[in-house]
Amino acid sequence: MICRSARIQESQRKRLIKAVGMTKWRLALAHGVIAVLSITSLLCIAFDKEYWPFSQYPMFSSVSREDTLSALRLYGVSQEQPHREIPLLSPAYIEPFDKSRLGISLWRMESRKNLENRQKWLDKALRDRLKGYKTLRATGRHDGPPLQGVRLYEERWHLEASAQNAQWPDHRELITEVEQRRR
């Protein structure tokens, strides 16, 4: 009886494989892909973890309760007198970074507890971005003014519904600055 039932199941399985027009190896491969995609994604969601390219997609998921907004911003200091500060926000100035990636990178360095390391890392990062700006300028990727240095500020705004205060933060604190090394 069991033997007959197994034979029926086997014949049904073969008919099914034939009906879908795939070899059993290809069918197994497809099932493997479906299993990997589903299980990895569900694990990321269940454990709130990210294993790129799989993710729990946490962006914008936390609630902001404060009426203030703060951000780290990089400014270039022009060579010409009087020195002007130019916000380095445009992708053309900071490629291959974008302002979000660069801001978060600098914020991570700025949040380091070891003060000596923090300063060393920030200086190195700012020098790298100054060099990047100059390279992009030299290759014609932007027509910004020549810079003599860069400054990193922490800026804070009160959230005004009109956002008219965007250019004038309520609080502005210099975190660090670097100047072009003289030859």
């Binding site: 009906a19 995609l37 294993y51 390219p53 998921s61 309760r65 916000p87 291959p96 990047g132 965007a166």
Partner: protein
């Protein structure tokens, strides 16, 4: 149990002609060839190691940052692979190379400070396409095989098969899991406060305050409409509620045609809305939505004879009749 297995096989492996998957291949690889054509990954080779913060994938496989010169070579091979995949020339090799090089190149920027989420789906779809038989229709490979095969019917026309269904459904599955994950994240981290608070209004105002002047393409809101919406708390809460409902209910689009008609365009326009009101762009996601369109039916409506160029040896209706298991 029998019914569940039958449903499973129908969903994933319903026999189909190769035309739809072939057209998806052309559109997907063509769109991303154009999208990434001007992208220069070689600049990452010159960024200071002080920014290097490897993601788990790069850490596990000990993947380094290649030099700028090497990155330039790799990216040109990758872009050529995308083009060859679009044309369907050496399809297996070109789709596999698009995937392997794509994993490295698209993953590389995420090791520098922050993991953006706009292109992870592209990497996964590249992998699905590399394992699929997407070159069986509308491809140069097919034309060459036909020319060599003469009048042999099995060479001239590939059989209808489940091979042409599961890759498209796998992309659908990823859409469902991604947006479901995004919805669950919001509820897990913030609960209903994400909807019933001023959170959305604050996000809209913040995006406009942090916007560069002039707005940077792909990162800043191009118009200040978010500020007008932020003035009406009922409207921001409605938008927030719609976002969470659409995201968490996305898996329904897999099973229900009616839900699909609401959820898929709803989320598409939600992402367009994020771009317009808040700035971040999700163009790769928007492009991947092409897998939801039945291109075989669309193309046959436009060009009635197209099926004859790549249609199945056996009609789909004939084949489907065999699928149910008594």
């Amino acid at each position: 149990m029998q019914g569940l297995r039958e449903w499973w096989m129908r969903f994933w492996f319903e026999p189909a002609e190769p035309l739809n998957l072939g057209l998806c291949r052309i559109l997907f690889f063509g769109a991303f060839f154009l999208f990434y054509f001007r992208e220069d990954f070689s600049a990452w080779g010159e960024v200071s190691d002080v920014f290097w913060r490897p993601i788990s994938f790069f850490q596990t496989f000990h993947l380094p940052v290649l030099s700028s010169a090497l990155l330039a070579v790799v990216q040109w091979i990758w872009k050529a692979s995308l083009l060859l995949s679009c044309l369907g020339l050496l399809t297996r090799a070109s789709t596999v190379s698009s995937f392997i090089l794509g994993v490295y190149l698209l993953g590389l920027p995420h090791n520098f400070g922050k993991t953006h989420h706009f292109d992870a789906l592209v990497v996964i779809v590249l992998g699905i396409m590399a394992l699929s038989r997407c070159g069986d229709a509308c491809s140069v490979d097919r034309l060459m095989k036909k020319a060599r095969g003469g009048s042999n019917l099995s060479v001239r026309r590939p059989r209808v098969s489940g091979e042409y269904t599961w890759p498209v459904r796998a992309v659908w599955l990823m859409f469902a899991l991604i947006f479901f994950g995004a919805g669950v994240s919001k509820l897990r981290h913030s609960g209903l406060e994400w909807i019933f608070s001023d959170n959305m209004a604050r996000m809209l105002i913040s995006a406009n305050i942090l916007s560069a002047d002039p707005p940077a393409a792909n990162f800043d809101p191009p118009v200040p409409w978010g500020l007008y919406i932020a003035q009406y708390s009922w409207l921001t809460q409605l938008l927030a509620a719609a976002t969470v409902v659409l995201e968490t209910s996305y898996p329904l689009a897999l099973f229900s045609r009616r839900a699909r008609w609401v959820i898929v365009p709803g989320v598409f326009f939600m992402q367009v809305g994020i771009r317009v009101l808040m700035g971040p762009s999700f163009y790769p996601f928007l492009i991947c939505n092409l897998f939801w369109v039945p291109w075989d039916r669309v193309s046959q409506a436009i060009v009635p004879g197209l099926r004859n160029l790549s249609g199945g040896k056996e009609s789909v209706a004939d084949k489907r009749r065999h699928l149910p298991v008594e």
